[in-house]
Every structure is written in structure tokens, then in C-alpha cells.
Amino acid sequence: MYRYDQYDHALVQARVAQFRDQVARRLSGELSEEEFLPLRLQNGVYLQRHAYMLRVAIPYGTLSSNQLRALARIAEDYDRDYGHFTTRQNIQFNWIELEQVPDILQLLADHEMHAIQTSGNCVRNITTEAFAGVAGDELIDPRPLAEILRQWSTVNPEFLFLPRKFKIAISSSEMDRAAIRAHDVGLYLYKGENGEMLLRVMVGGGLGRTPILNEMIREALPWQHLLTYVEAVLRVYNRYGRRDNKYKARIKILVKALGIEAFAQEVEREWEQIRDGVAELTSEEYTRVAQNFQAPDYERIDAIDPDFGAWLARDPAFSVWVQNNTRPHKVSGYSSVILSTKPGASAPPGDVTAEQMRVVADLAEKFGFGEIRVAHEQNLVLPDVRKRDLYALWKALRAQNLATPNIGLLTDVISCPGGDYCSLASTRSLPVAKAIQERFDDLDFLHDLGELSLNISGCVNACGHHHIGNIGILGVDKNGEEFFQITIGGAQGKDSSIGKVIGPALRAEEVPEAIGRLLSVYLSYREVEERFVDTVRRIGIAPFKEGVYQRETARVEASA
């Protein structure tokens, strides 16, 4: 894991002092709310419906056990005993007093964490996939370059007042598990013919009101140019991005206005001016950072463990969990384990209690190397577990309600916090998530459905990434009433796509039934082992539309 050096420590400590002073000046009235706003946002502090919310960065989703315990302490001492993990590898605390934020930031700084640039019109937390460094299908470990980008973008003075927020994700596996195509800049890291590290640079993705997948502007960029190339993209954006309309200010709108080729030319022209200078990365720097991500001391163990095999045969519930919630590890005899934060109706997606955090921190030490990851899907991951320990781990996780075997299934719902917390939201997304999880709580049925992602956003800002869910649900307000629009066919990963709307929005109570009808259509058309999204792609949305709305129409006619 990355450990802070003297510079990293000095920066976060100084930042705490600076924000403490700014909060004091706000409370004394010296700073107006308008002037304070971007300062607090760049320190992760939002004003929500009922209280302040603090969003803490978990760079590239990596936490140590001690860091997770520090987060548990924040949940206990400053919040209501829980935190909420987001889709971009952050954790949010929803019930925070502004006066206490400097103390919380101090606690974070003392544990090599921060909330810098988790909000505001600047470069946000750099994300990657939860299995970085351990995934069976990984090409190159993306974490060193992610950390290098984190440092470069932190308090980069030229780019703190961009037209709008700016999100960067990096991935380097056969599957893309970091949703890089939905980012302002998506970086795909791979090996060239001679084993050299190369980057594919994609720009202009984003969801929100105008969902667009990013497009490639540069193939095979040698890694040494990473910082100058990103600098060129940001400079073009900072100069020419729209500032007259908040909803037209993301880089995707600029890319669309210029066209991807003209935009790419602008970037190349800028880059020609700065490439090959002192800002280019050096092998020395890469090595210095990469040393922090060296593989732990794995045991040499056989791929097949007899005890593990015996438990699989003896305990079908364990076997189902292993099948669904573990992933192949690059080291023989090990697995990565996904802890589901979606037990069903009993807790909102992504919410984890302080007690659960402490137990997970202990389990990560007992059955791993004291490391925890946060996944884009709002779940937690223990990256390095010996197969022979899986049974004991499973039992411990079950006791904490963290072993629901639904990873990648319908009830592994991604949802924003919605109108229960967020002041931007036009609808409450959590009750809808809950109703769906209640209705589809039969695990056999869920497993029969197979891989199926369901994403819910409480408003057009699309924090629940509904556009790239196989089933997407978007809350819209119609004259003060909550309605939900359903899209199907969205996907993240290598074959990303934006979902299509199937028809008029429905009332909250009609949504679970509509999902049920969508699934009936799927099951009647499905070819052997075909995934939901593949069926949608094969037969189009018309049969689904008919399936969901025909009975609706019939009912309206009958009652007329």
C-alpha cells in the first residue's frame, strides 16, 4: 500500500490548518457563504437536505485496516454510526457538523487520508478497479500511475476552478471494472509489443443530463507522457469549456461542440508545446511510487485445497457464495472476496456500520494482509484471501450480514442516496431500491436470472449511473410527484452502452411490478445462458416495452 512520505504528510496537515482557519472565518462572518462554498467543496463538505455531508477520498479504492478503523471512529464520534460508500471510491458521512469538520480532517490526515477535491469544479478522486494488483485478468497494476495522478492533481493551482467537475479513471484489465468510459478522462493501460507501458486516452465521457461514453483521442501514448498529456487536455478544457451554463460545462459538451477530431487536434497542439520537458515522468519516480505497491508475501500454496473442496461439497450455501462473491486471484491458492453491502431491504446500498467496518478491518488482518478495497459497485473487497480460509471468513461475514451471495445480480443495486439526503435529488431513490430488493429476495430466482445490473438515480445528475445499468431507473419530479423512468440495455465495461428508455415514467409503487414484467419478457426470449443485456441487444427494446406497458394500457382501458 502507498505510505505517505514527509511531503504528503506536510501537505495534508497544512491543509487541515488552512481549512480550520477558513471555517473560523466563515463562522465569524468574515467569509460569505458564496466565497466559502468552493473552499468547503474542495475539502469534501456538501450542504445536504438536513445536515452537512463530508465525502472522504479513498484514492483508487485502497484502505488499510487502520484506515478503515479511523473511518469507523468518524462514523461513531461524528455521525450516526455508519458511512456510505459511493460509486467513485469515496465514503460519505451524512450527518456532520461544520464546526467539527476540521477535527475530522485532522483524524484523516493522521491516518494518511484526506477529503481534498472530493467535490467542486476540479479534478476529483482518481479511481481504478477494486481488484488492482490482484486480478487474474490484469495486464499491468494501475495503482502507481493512479497515485502519481493523485499527487499531480492535488492542489494543482491552474486547475482548481475549471468550468465543472472533472473525473479521471484508469483501468488495466481484460474487463474494465472501473467504468472508465463514463469518465471525463478514461485511461486504459496496456503493454506494447516490447512490454512497454502504453496508454489509451479517452475523453468526454459522463452521465448526468447528457449521457455520453468517452472517445479515444490518443492510442499507444508512452506512460512517461501521462502528466503532460492530461495537462494538455485540462488546459484546453479550462480555456474553452463553457462557463455560461452549468449543464453545458462538462468537457463532454466541448468535445461534442468541436467534434472529437478537432478536440484531439487542439490537445495535440497544446501537448507539442509541453512534451519532453521537465514535467515528463521519470523511471525513477515511477519506481519510487511503485515500490509502495509491491505484492505482499504470498504463501506458495497449491491451487487446490482439499478442505476448501470438501466444504464446497458439504455446504451448498457456502458454495453459492464462493461462486458469486469471489474472484480469481493471480496467485495460486488465493481468491479475492467481495463483501456485499446490499443485504436486501435491511440496509441501503453502500451503507456500512461502524461495527461492520471494525469487523472487516480485523478480518482483513486475520485472513489477508490488512488491506481492504472499495469497489465501484459500492461493495468492499478483501483482495488476498487463501482459499483454505474462505469457509471461516464466510462464517464471520455472515454474522455481520456482509455475505449475501448477490454480487453482479439484480439485487446488487447501485443507488445514489437520493432525496432522503441529497438536496439536488428530485426523488427518493432508496425506497425504490428497497422495494425492488424486497420483491426479488429469492436467491434461486436471482441466480437463475444471472448477471444483471440495476442502477437507480434520484435525479438527472445520474449519481447512480442509471444510464449504464442493464436496467436503469431515473427519478423525475412531475408537479411535485415522484415518477420513475426505466431504461434497459445500458452496460459498463469493455462493451459499454447507454440504456434506452422503454416508455412513460411510472409511480414508485409500480416499479417492482414493471421490473417483474421486464424479467418475464427476458426469460421467455432468453437463449441458453444468455445475459439480460445480450437478450436486449439481440431483440431490441420493443418486446420489453410491450411486456411492461400492454397490461398497463389494458388496465387503463378497463377502468375507463
Binding site: A14, L31, W152, S153, T154, P157, E158, L160, F161, A279
Partner: protein, 170 residues
């Protein structure tokens, strides 16, 4: 200009007597010894050959391309860049380009919505004087230029990124 901070040998001080004065396009220049005029007005004066009579400062708006003024940088004692709102960050890039790409050596002044909490960022990007918003105390604002100021990336004040300086040290 009143309420202005400058850098004297790199140290931030409140300027007691600053000769410069922002002059609107429709205001006459008579009797003003050191006017700062818009780029458009300055271009018009230059075309008629009048720009040599006075020492002008030039104000670039956030939409102006710094490259347009590059040929005359040696003759300009002051360039002012405008922050229409402190949340509009275009002037940071303009300042950086004027210093690093076009080699401007004169005084680079921040004008408009210039506030204490952004002064350090402005200095990093190459600003050398800061006309603090009139309703704010300049002595309070001065504090924004003292204290911790480390960044990782390169900037005008740190031409090399931290990782190069770091390796030079060890």
C-alpha cells in the same frame, strides 16, 4: 490601484503607492500617468501609432488569447488579467502561458474578484501583483500569501515538479 499587494524580491507586501489605474474604454486617458487599458483599445492606439507616448498596461479579458499579445510583451510593463468571478479559473491558464510559453517578464496583475484564499494559487501561476477586491481588507488578504505552499505539480514559481526536486535532494 488601491488595495494592491505586490511581490518585492519574492516577498508579498502591500503596495503603498501603486501608480496604475484601470481605465474603462469610454473613459478619456487625459492626465492619467499609468493607465491600464483593454487589449482592444491598446490595439487601436497601436495602429494609429499613439501607443508609444505613454507607458500603458494592458488588460486581457478571460476570452483573450495571450498569444495575440505575445509579439509586444517586451514593451509592456504590466499586463492585468481579469477574474470576473473568483470561480472563473481561465486567468490561471492565461498567466501560466504568458510566463512559461511567451516569456513575459513584466508585472502580471490579478484584477477583478481577487480574494485572500486564491492568492497563493495565483502566485503559483505567475501573478506578481494582486489588486484585492475593494471591499476587502488588503492586510487580511496578505495572509493568503504566507504559510504552507507546497504543491506536487510544477508551476511558474516551481518550474520543476516535486518528484524532480525530490530526487535531486536524495
Amino acid at each position: 490601484m488601491n488595495n494592491t499587494i505586490g511581490l518585492k524580491n519574492g516577498v508579498a507586501v502591500v503596495l503603498q503607492e501603486d501608480p496604475w489605474c484601470l481605465v474603462d474604454d469610454d473613459q478619456p486617458l487625459d492626465g492619467i500617468s499609468s493607465p491600464i487599458i483593454s487589449f482592444a483599445r491598446w490595439q487601436a492606439l497601436r495602429e494609429t501609432g499613439e501607443e508609444g507616448q505613454l507607458s500603458y498596461g494592458v488588460l486581457l479579458g478571460p476570452d483573450d488569447d495571450p498569444e495575440a499579445i505575445a509579439p509586444w510583451l517586451d514593451t509592456l510593463p504590466l499586463i492585468a488579467l481579469e477574474f470576473p468571478s473568483f470561480r472563473d479559473g481561465r486567468a490561471y491558464t492565461q498567466a501560466n502561458l504568458l510566463r512559461t510559453r511567451y516569456g513575459y517578464k513584466g508585472d502580471l496583475r490579478a484584477t477583478g474578484d481577487v480574494l485572500r484564499d486564491q492568492l497563493g494559487l495565483m502566485r503559483h501561476c505567475g501573478f506578481s501583483s494582486f489588486a484585492v477586491r475593494e471591499d476587502r481588507s488588503v492586510s487580511e488578504a496578505l495572509k493568503g500569501l504566507f504559510g504552507f505552499d507546497m504543491i506536487y505539480a510544477r508551476s511558474v514559481t516551481n518550474p520543476e515538479p516535486l518528484f524532480r526536486r525530490r530526487s535531486a535532494k536524495s
